[in-house]
Symmetry: D2
Subunit: 399 residues, 4 copies
Amino acid sequence: MQHHAITLLGTGLIGDFYTMTLHGQRGADRVRVVYSRSEERGAAFSDRWGIPEHTTDMEAAIRHPDTDVVIVALPNHLHEEAVAAVAAAGKAVLCTKPLGRDAGEAKRMLEAVERAGVFAGYLEDLCYTPKTLKALRSVAAGALGDVTWVRSRETHPGPHSAWFWDGRLTGGGAIIDLGCHCIEIIRNFVGKGNRPVEVMCHTDTLVHPIDDEDNAIALIRFDSGAIGQFEVSWTFRGGMDLRDEIAGTHGTIWLNHFLRTGFEMFTAGGSGGYVAEKAEAERGWLFPVGDEVSELGYVDMFTDMFDALDGGRTPRETFYDGYVVNAVMDSAYRSAKSGAWERIDLFEWRGAETPRIASHPETYEGLVVIKRETLPDGREKLILKDPGTGDFVDRVVGA
Amino acid sequence: MQHHAITLLGTGLIGDFYTMTLHGQRGADRVRVVYSRSEERGAAFSDRWGIPEHTTDMEAAIRHPDTDVVIVALPNHLHEEAVAAVAAAGKAVLCTKPLGRDAGEAKRMLEAVERAGVFAGYLEDLCYTPKTLKALRSVAAGALGDVTWVRSRETHPGPHSAWFWDGRLTGGGAIIDLGCHCIEIIRNFVGKGNRPVEVMCHTDTLVHPIDDEDNAIALIRFDSGAIGQFEVSWTFRGGMDLRDEIAGTHGTIWLNHFLRTGFEMFTAGGSGGYVAEKAEAERGWLFPVGDEVSELGYVDMFTDMFDALDGGRTPRETFYDGYVVNAVMDSAYRSAKSGAWERIDLFEWRGAETPRIASHPETYEGLVVIKRETLPDGREKLILKDPGTGDFVDRVVGA
Amino acid sequence: MQHHAITLLGTGLIGDFYTMTLHGQRGADRVRVVYSRSEERGAAFSDRWGIPEHTTDMEAAIRHPDTDVVIVALPNHLHEEAVAAVAAAGKAVLCTKPLGRDAGEAKRMLEAVERAGVFAGYLEDLCYTPKTLKALRSVAAGALGDVTWVRSRETHPGPHSAWFWDGRLTGGGAIIDLGCHCIEIIRNFVGKGNRPVEVMCHTDTLVHPIDDEDNAIALIRFDSGAIGQFEVSWTFRGGMDLRDEIAGTHGTIWLNHFLRTGFEMFTAGGSGGYVAEKAEAERGWLFPVGDEVSELGYVDMFTDMFDALDGGRTPRETFYDGYVVNAVMDSAYRSAKSGAWERIDLFEWRGAETPRIASHPETYEGLVVIKRETLPDGREKLILKDPGTGDFVDRVVGA
Amino acid sequence: MQHHAITLLGTGLIGDFYTMTLHGQRGADRVRVVYSRSEERGAAFSDRWGIPEHTTDMEAAIRHPDTDVVIVALPNHLHEEAVAAVAAAGKAVLCTKPLGRDAGEAKRMLEAVERAGVFAGYLEDLCYTPKTLKALRSVAAGALGDVTWVRSRETHPGPHSAWFWDGRLTGGGAIIDLGCHCIEIIRNFVGKGNRPVEVMCHTDTLVHPIDDEDNAIALIRFDSGAIGQFEVSWTFRGGMDLRDEIAGTHGTIWLNHFLRTGFEMFTAGGSGGYVAEKAEAERGWLFPVGDEVSELGYVDMFTDMFDALDGGRTPRETFYDGYVVNAVMDSAYRSAKSGAWERIDLFEWRGAETPRIASHPETYEGLVVIKRETLPDGREKLILKDPGTGDFVDRVVGA
């Protein structure tokens, strides 16, 4: 294991989460220099996290002689420029989500790092939550059979920083902010080699006086026939609702990452401090999360990134993944306008062809078995279909 | 309160649930005669529930001199004929869900009872669960503000009886079986006077060797801008998943009617009997429901129906509601074929016009307030938008 | 089924719950006359529930010519006198919990009804919740094996009426108010024929400026070796916490009757009305119960009482049960003073002798099997004890 | 931050958990040499975790020239000897729980490290779970007011290794194995300076054919009046039940560490691998934990230990804490025999004197306020006590 010295670009909330993760729990990798557009915020940030240097010169930060990895934690409209500069400097680059404001930007960033031959990781933390990783292992081991449907939901009352609300800087509204997480979570569960084919999306701006969507729902159809469903909102009341539900032919998984995780508190008089990201109240029933940076995936994400870098392998989440996510979001926005399913355009598909979800009907005395049920007395009831007439019958057979 | 003597048509599972409800808990209303196409099933049913008479003559059952109310608990394709016969007999009629196989049938049934002037109730039990009724009271009292989104989900591993699987008899697949519940639940929460305008639906047949859909998801857009979302499946694994989620501008409600209701049991050696409708296992962790006929709404449903009959008022769920539900399902099937939003055609709209969800932006020093947050030190942070430039800024103001 | 006309004694909160239950859901039994010490409260109560008559003359209410059943819903210190009067009048009597202020009172009430030969039921609603009844059926069918431990917990922030706080009128504090429920729930789960042998109890008055306990915990040892544990408090914050946990040699049951029943609501602006008994807040996350009178057992309780009366059988909860509960509470109070286990004195034990919880050790090659575990590779690991040396060893055996 | 090279003594399940933690997530501290009594197990263990050396010579392992910290992960009866050897070698020592088999052993271990002046940490992981640490911060900040009661529960179907079942080697049964966790969790919540005064305990051996207890429940009374309650069992069915409940004068906290943490899975066909420690099933509804070593506290525990070592401060959990826990367990065993409360004997109390839980009754017009309630109409209802007569009255006052 090598120990990495890091250049961090950006001092917003996500920079705090990243540094809290890296500097927490006896980690060997450290932020060595931080860049902020503001001298004041840079100074405060480096004080807060014990970072040796800060600067307002992004190029100097990227080319700092002691660092080998650069983390891009800037607002969306600055990703492309920053990634290009890191690629030019020949350093490893880790970029926060979404990769670009649209698939065009994302594609150029992908090409930049591939051309430069530098290590590149897509910082999609929610695909790395401990629950998600364990659930993915169970799915890979066949616990659910074929995945038929994935619902990924991320909703809260709206972002904390002004720039998030400005679609010119971000590329959109709640979809760009939250949908990018959901789409990549869905891809992990249906299989990354399972091509997203088309998307149907509804958006609306119901509460906030903004031009972009504060609510959206979409369906994504994959090659196998599986359906992904994302629900995002900046108008949800009650905290941050982060849930995934996965259904398969042989099982079901429900994940709750934030509001119901086995920690429940009632307080009549103030919670005595920070409750949770996007919490809405300080008294009454509250639902804190034990260790947010772990539960939200930051710990496992950086472990994968640095282990991949050390081991010369590809990380779980790549710039290509980020590009695919942007492409799905572009199609979702198109669908919201057209009111119809829209194809997902990819300049290149690096996955596989995925066969249709398997369905091998069983027969019984020449009839197709629709369902088997065990009766209370131990006998079995078959529901059968006559393939000739199309008629259905019940048949009870001995134990 | 009058005491009613009832003719019950049909002896399937739903007939059992209805009679269990009526004859349970000291109720004053009783089934007097039951009709079944099968002499054997009619005899067994009347024995099971202490019903004085059974018959295989539907007309005789309907016109039995001692009964004043007829409950139609027959397969879908027999509803229209039965309702017409009851209307002709001049008796009150209560019909199980869905009202018809399509809106055409439902409209004719509606016209039959209105022409005959008989009392008619639509037996949509899931709109009467105790949780739903209490939640609706909270919504009506303003606890959620304007309702923006309702998700209603009903999924299980598939029906118990052969006829349910035959779309020729039922009118469709999982939408006709389960979606009818979800649509009417959604209508109750967004407001029955809030017109359903259009629907976007995806269906697929992923697991069972049948012609109709075993999975479907749909979005319903209402006049107010609210979105209803139904998820139905005959391939869900783990039992019967019956959940509703309601989001509004000021609050959120989550209802779980079946799998997580505060009753959890682990058993290494068989549960010792009936666990729950559509339960999948008899050992391991099981999640029974205390009193199914109460929790699924049957008790409150019949109370409303008979109280309405006694009081000369309209019940909560009418044949017109059943007709609207059929119309929404017809549009959903059309949308699944066209891949686009489809208008919901109603021969007559008996509700109101509903204004768009209210959004009255507040201003602060000439800027539009996007969001207010309280900081840990008690000061308030405003996120503001300049209506001229479209720029967003943060502003922290004193406590 | 007969229809009963009822005399109700008392117009407090419990009278409201009883009448709401009896007059709800098409029930055939009705309150005919209500007695209150206060003319004003009696008038308001009879208006509220549509009761034909009210009176301030208890004897007249009891002897009202049109009623055949009397419900005693008075403060504890008035139970004995009321029950004696009903017994003298020769009518059926249903008495709220606790039966007496102590076992002496309870015994005299038991003797009064037995001497008079009248039907007598103990209105212990929490032994009749739908969850409890279904759980008891599973236990009876063997789903848990032998019950080893039952925890019953009832805690809230304290009673609503002044008289509850006066130990001279009630017989004690939180134990008398809440422990009586827990003890009888425990008895149902370990088996009513399983004699409660001794009790160890700790009480304290931690928050409220009263003389009686506002917190108590007790262990009850039964004949079989099973342990019952009750936890009661008048200082709990967060609403009313009503939970039971049952452990057996082959399974586990967890029941939550109030705070987590599948109904969750967040509201920023007031709940829009009544939330739940003993709720503490009107905004933030709230946890209402769908139908309180059903979920708290009132519906099934009255069904059992009136069905038993009609059928000439004993109800599930009798005055003898009430007497046993009082005897256990008396011993608990003695133990809290002595700091030691105290025997439970019963003038007569009407149950059985219950054998010690079964333990039939299996042997393997002459060694005692302590535990069997299946390893990931399918083989089995045995933990074995040498009965001669007392040594323990692991042994892995083929699949 | 220094990087530590570690000698690990022991290769059982706990050694695996420790090494998985240390070697996981980019940690800077590594196991350098491992000692096992068995050459074979040592070789397998060092292979599994990439440890450079293994040995069967404990003294050589302890005195290895490259290591500065020794972790004792041996069976209980070997702790004292190992700790003495590490102290003699002058290295930092971290010892797993329980510290000793009884308070005598624990005291001698405490004296050994204090005499030698070496850093010593007590590896009580469950006091370091992320939920516990956050809950403790809320309690410290006053969110619950004064803590009145703590329930800590740890139950499962019994240990995996033979030696755990041999009370001669461990010091007891379920109390020694599980109660040590609960006691220290309770101490953290009531305050470590809050002296545990006396204990009342019930034990029984209900299921397993062993001499020691397989079930125990105890109450611990603290100086402040707070009550700690532990429930431990080796006969629980359904997995590992790890819950804490904390009640205070102003709030409540419920923690569920294992069985209900927001991860729910149903599988019809095997879970596809490891589910969780002490899981009982591989199909049906399963409740995995995302990242066990984090959720069970191992990550934060080692961070605290090594940060304390680096920073020259005392860790959160010390050998003195381990000693206090042993002393409480000794008293619990005595109480189980005597059937009475037993004093907790400490050779030295290093905490404070803690005042009785505060109770400052408020008065209203000369009467003592028992409770305030807000009525639906906005007025306030006071329950008042006349200090002279002891009578209680209700009083409704204007809004």
